[in-house]
């Protein structure tokens, strides 16, 4: 009887499907035309914006891959993002560990102080930051960017780690303490191995943030050889004006690593980028 009355409605109605398809087209079309645009001649773009290219000659792509700029800018970004992730994970997890597991006077105050960074975007102080970096001799260096990005990431990363560490069973830490294990060893051998999911979340968040970052490298870097890929692509666009096929080929090649990374590590990317607000 119950099963008879339980006539399942379709999960998604026809009206919803139609809207979803329109939205999907809205999302996909810019990507699609960008990817195909690199194969088209400039005149072809004008007469045939949506269709397949007349020839699949990858000459622009191979030219870019063979040139010096593409790999050096991606390499610079990889170095900076990698350095930022490793250091920010280490720095933030250590601090969060101390604040969550070691009892001492002032721990609440320190947590509150670090959380001040959540009130305002670090970029608001970008001009004085530039002066400070100049005075410290950190301009035009990858280390300068890494250091500052780690500093920018402290508040949010400590928050995520701290929330996670608070949930760990207290008995675990106490048992290790009983065995005369020092806090540093507990941190390294007990806590860190247990928090791989949160490391992945925080790591992806900081990696993508650094990989996509534009304002800070724009202000800090002068030499072209040190440019990250967003700077490289802006410079390339400035140089080739409206030679769109060439620019679109460069764009396609530049966003491909990020898209591949996203498709491979979807789960972590989504939870990382939504700041742990989304689980799974």
């Amino acid at each position: 009887m119950a099963t008879a009355s339980k006539k399942r409605r379709p999960a998604i109605s026809a009206a919803q499907w139609i809207t979803l398809l329109i939205v999907a087209a809205f999302v996909i079309v810019p990507f699609y035309t960008t990817a195909l645009g690199g194969f088209k001649e400039i005149g072809e773009l004008r007469v045939n914006p949506f269709g397949l290219p007349a020839s699949w000659d990858p000459v622009r792509f191979t030219e870019i891959l063979g040139g010096p700029r593409y790999f050096s800018s991606l390499g610079n970004s990889l170095l900076i993002a990698g350095g930022t992730v490793v250091l920010s994970t280490l720095v933030a997890s250590m601090t969060a560990f101390a604040l969550a597991h070691i009892k001492f006077f002032g721990s609440k105050f320190i947590l509150g102080y670090l959380m001040l960074g959540l009130l305002f975007p670090a970029a608001t102080g970008i001009l004085p930051l530039f002066i400070k970096m100049r005075d410290l001799g950190m301009l035009d260096s990858h280390w300068g960017i890494i250091t500052v990005q780690v500093a920018f990431s402290v508040s949010f990363s400590v928050l995520l780690f701290h929330n996670f560490f608070k949930e760990l069973p207290k008995e675990l830490i106490d048992a290790a303490r009983m065995d005369n294990c020092g806090y540093v060893r507990i941190y390294w051998y007990v806590t860190l191995p247990l928090c791989l999911p949160i490391i992945a979340t925080v790591g992806v968040f900081n990696f993508v943030g650094s990989w996509n970052s534009f304002l800070l490298p724009l202000i800090v870097l002068n030499s072209e050889a040190k440019y990250t890929w967003p700077l490289g692509i802006m410079q390339f666009q400035g140089q080739y004006g409206s030679d769109w096929p060439r620019i679109l080929a460069f764009l396609t090649l530049s966003i491909m690593p990020a898209i591949a990374f996203f498709l491979l590590a979807q789960r972590y990317v989504i939870s990382g980028l939504t700041g742990g607000a989304v689980k799974g």
Partner: protein
């Protein structure tokens, strides 16, 4: 007897005292664990903000000692700057469009896509894709779409027989064009937050309502949306703070033009403070932006607190 009692009392008080400050064994780990983040955070996040506030009261070019105190002159310069009003207006338009168009679109998609299924997951991932793309890349892709000579827009216009303007070079069209890109770029992010909220609603609640004959849209209005209020509050917060910081997307699209009509607060800061190394002027813009962000953050905390209490 008494001596024993005082003995335990004394050890008890020392233990209390020691616990209150720091236990000797944890001193070393604390000295190892805390300074890196505290130093970096203070040096590169807190001090620059304090410096910005200091600079804002001086006329300084960045070299030598800071001497020329000018009071609130820099603030007056910012507020009366002919493009500052436009920048603030544009930032507020971004907030409004995010709240009134982007979030409802995200909610609509989230409700459809909160169910589980392979196709559904595929669509979700697709919708999230623009969010993970760098702003600069997204800006350039759309600069092409809008390009008046070779882009998609004139082609679409040609197909339906309308002569499309060069939207990014047109004072009237540049803002709506940018808003479309913002919606494209960010709605997937909000959709994911809403989906997470919707999936945390216990299935029995929905099932019970359904058995009682409550219609699908009434379930959405009276059960689903109220139950994911905290997800909505988070989304609104991200939408507002994101709008206030918008920079990377504008530079490749319009670079603040034509004739400075599409600046946001941060591109205004970049154009008139950073590029011209006007520290006092830039400092004043920073402080105003800082105050706006803090007000939003504090208001958000109050709202969130209320939501959690209910």
């Amino acid at each position: 007897m008494t001596s024993v009692a005082t003995g335990t009392d004394m050890s008890a008080t020392t233990a209390v005292r020691r616990r209150r400050y720091v236990d000797r064994k944890s001193l070393l780990p604390l000295l190892l664990f805390l300074p890196p983040s505290l130093i970096l955070f203070t040096l590169f996040v807190v001090l620059p903000m304090i410096d910005a506030a200091t600079f804002s009261f001086f006329d300084w070019n960045g070299y030598g000692p800071i001497t020329d105190f000018v009071g609130f002159e820099n603030y007056a310069d910012v507020i009366t700057h002919r493009n500052f009003g436009t920048a603030v207006r544009n930032s507020l338009i971004v907030v409004a469009v995010s709240l009134l168009i982007q979030l409802p679109l995200a909610m609509w998609c989230a409700i459809a896509l909160a169910e589980r299924g392979t196709h559904i997951n595929l669509i979700r991932v697709l919708f999230f894709l623009p969010y993970m793309l760098a702003e600069v890349a997204a800006g350039l892709i759309w600069k092409f779409v809008y390009d008046g000579n070779y882009g998609l827009l004139p082609a679409i216009g040609g197909a339906i027989g309308v002569d499309m303007p060069f939207v990014l070079g047109d004072k009237l069209w540049v803002i709506p064009a940018i808003m479309l890109v913002i919606t494209w770029k960010y709605f997937g992010f909000h959709m994911m937050i809403f989906i997470a909220g919707l999936q945390s609603i216990p299935g029995e609640v929905i099932e019970a309502a359904r058995l009682d004959g409550v219609s699908k849209w009434q379930i959405v209005r009276h059960i689903k949306i109220p139950m994911i209020r905290s997800a909505i509050v988070i989304s609104v917060f991200f939408a507002i703070t994101g709008a206030l910081q918008l920079f990377d997307l504008i530079i490749p699209l319009s670079n603040g033009g034509p004739s400075h009509s599409s600046h946001t607060i941060v591109t205004f800061l970049y154009q008139f403070g950073i590029l011209r190394m006007k520290l006092g002027f830039g400092g004043a813009v920073s402080v105003l932006l800082f105050i706006a962000c803090v007000i939003v953050a504090l208001a958000y905390r109050r709202i969130l607190f209320k939501v959690e209490q209910n």
